[in-house]
Symmetry: C2
Amino acid sequence: MSEKLSVQPYKGTRDFYPQEMRLRNWFFGVIRRELENAAFDEYNGPMLESLELYAAKSGEEIANKQTYNFMDRGERHLAIRPEMTPTVARMVAAKIGDLSFPLKWFSIPNMYRYEATQRGRLREFWQLNVDIFGCNTYEADLEVITSAIRILRAYGADETMFTVRINNRRFFNDVIAAITDKNAEESRLVSKVIDRKNKVTRESYEKDLRALGLSDEQIGKIDALYSMNVAQATALCPDSVGSCELRSLFAALEKMGLDKFCVFDFGIIRGLDYYTGTVFEVFDNAPENNRAMFGGGRYDNLVDLFVKNAKISGVGYGMGDVTLENFLVTHKLVPASFGSGVKVLVTRFEDVPYEAYTSLAERLRDAGIVSSVYLGQKKFGKQLEYAVKGEYSHAVIMGGDEYARGVVRLKNLLTREEKEISLDALIEELQ
Amino acid sequence: MSEKLSVQPYKGTRDFYPQEMRLRNWFFGVIRRELENAAFDEYNGPMLESLELYAAKSGEEIANKQTYNFMDRGERHLAIRPEMTPTVARMVAAKIGDLSFPLKWFSIPNMYRYEATQRGRLREFWQLNVDIFGCNTYEADLEVITSAIRILRAYGADETMFTVRINNRRFFNDVIAAITDKNAEESRLVSKVIDRKNKVTRESYEKDLRALGLSDEQIGKIDALYSMNVAQATALCPDSVGSCELRSLFAALEKMGLDKFCVFDFGIIRGLDYYTGTVFEVFDNAPENNRAMFGGGRYDNLVDLFVKNAKISGVGYGMGDVTLENFLVTHKLVPASFGSGVKVLVTRFEDVPYEAYTSLAERLRDAGIVSSVYLGQKKFGKQLEYAVKGEYSHAVIMGGDEYARGVVRLKNLLTREEKEISLDALIEELQ
């Protein structure tokens, strides 16, 4: 077999070399720290699930088309998870009697979607999922939105860099019904047209609304909603539960000083069949990253897929690693270096027993100092070159003479300073 | 649709609820800390790879049978990774000119194997992979074995709990040739029989060796190898490169005080076609966990699958999360609690503005104190119950009276002590 295998990763997937991995470990680390700090608990589930889980949530056609799915040898139709929500709903349902609600949970799983790749969208990605189960009032909506803002602020982001765009599906339904004066069924048809607004021409949009009997005045009233603030918008149907939720949420955000990050945006709908209350998206304000980074909202019926009348309301969001990384890089929020600083290469000479080097490295490691013996038998100059390329901060030099006297030379690779030091003093010097 | 979906995860996979996730984060955290401390760099790659990657390493039949594999819509035959080694070899090959060798790399990916489930073996698992590329002498073998021992010692394990069993494939070939006095081709047939020794009866084993022309004396000499130490074994073919590597390795282990964890074991072979030098397995000494936890060795030809004459030698090991967890639990090495200790529930009363609670929780979080507001509107007793179940250490109580006076009551949920404290003193008290 002289034909060589390709070194390219599969389309839409990525290799993470140590440099990229350090970046990821840093930004996932910030997320974990902030969420654990706010008493969210981490969970995880399997990468493979029954395909019917996704079909039950999104419909069979979408589930088939957007997932990697296949039969196992026992004729079970499986899918690689394209999202985490069905898994977490399954897990909540499985232990519904044992869990102490409200649950505050998060996960950062890898997942796959079968779709065309573009900036900010790959086939394999990691997605932060944050959810609160078992609290059906605005306080939980506030808590998940607060957590998204906390994460971005922890990276050093401010209100010029991102915007939380908030709407409410109950408000949406009620205000459309109020403007059009239609019953629930007819109003739903109008909602479907509005949901597709950005995907069709203005002409086609107006034509579809007129076909449902809307007047120019009614169409104008709907248009006006897109530039209203929350007080103006909710005044159109003041008694709606959705209006009340929006007002409570925005009042709390204001009193917490978080309103500068948030706006009411009637354009946020997020899929008609799924969300039932607050919906929101966090947008990167940079024009080159023209996508929502976080998206989520309240969903009421998901645990019911598994347990009859579960009545466990959930609210949460997902955030992909690809859009987050674009955000951090574009806004220059990535630190220049992730290292702890001290990293020691113990260089090696032929006239000293090798174990003297490995024992020294082990002693440094025991003291919590990152260190390695140079592996191999290259000349000293090559060893130093390796140290510099590998971002080591110090080299320890112990030839036969130093070994006999129980000392080493410690070279600082940044300043190029070098000094002789006893083995015992070395650890203290480096700590 | 009244038929409810199953709450069970797919066979051979696991749900990780927060309690199990804390355990995993702890034991993976120990691994990361120890390996980073020894200057190993973390990497990762895609969950899906081209099936031919695994076929090239293990043969088409095994690759097909043991992996979850399927065609994508572009007729690419993909597999969910059953192991990490082909991926890391591909990554090394892709950047062979840019990387600074020797590389010290590790990864903790999730992966799938299509096999019957049993204790210590599931279909979805996580596997630590540690590899050194670009150093073809025993020093790299020593470094990876040292890292395995360091990880287990970091959990508190000692030499009574695990054993590193070491052999060498060059030595194996040479000693078989020496005992049987056969050429390479004939000797290879003998090796194949020896490799299957534990899978057949003693009778069948001896019959197969006699069929290849071995005398009872020769069979006895092979038997004797299984109870020899490294000095006795290598004396049988003292000039073998493998003997030399074994002696160097064991001498260094002894001088580093690590020989108490290690034994020479002629029974460690690990697949005939793959390994080329040192091979080793780390066994759990507990009889109920009768499996190797770590397994690995030196392989020379893997990067060559991608790059002609790459000549990058590798040595490394894999360790699965399932066997590790069994080990830690069996030897009682899991800490009673993983928490930082302080975790504060801010309880809630109707006569205080809600934002007073959320702002207080945000201040505590800003100070690095894990805290949450109780979400919902249950009675105080229910809120305290929730705090105790959720392993909160403290409850902050601020009713209308306290709010008016700028104080809170701080209740220690372990000691049940309660005291009044000013808002400003609260953070200091909890830190």
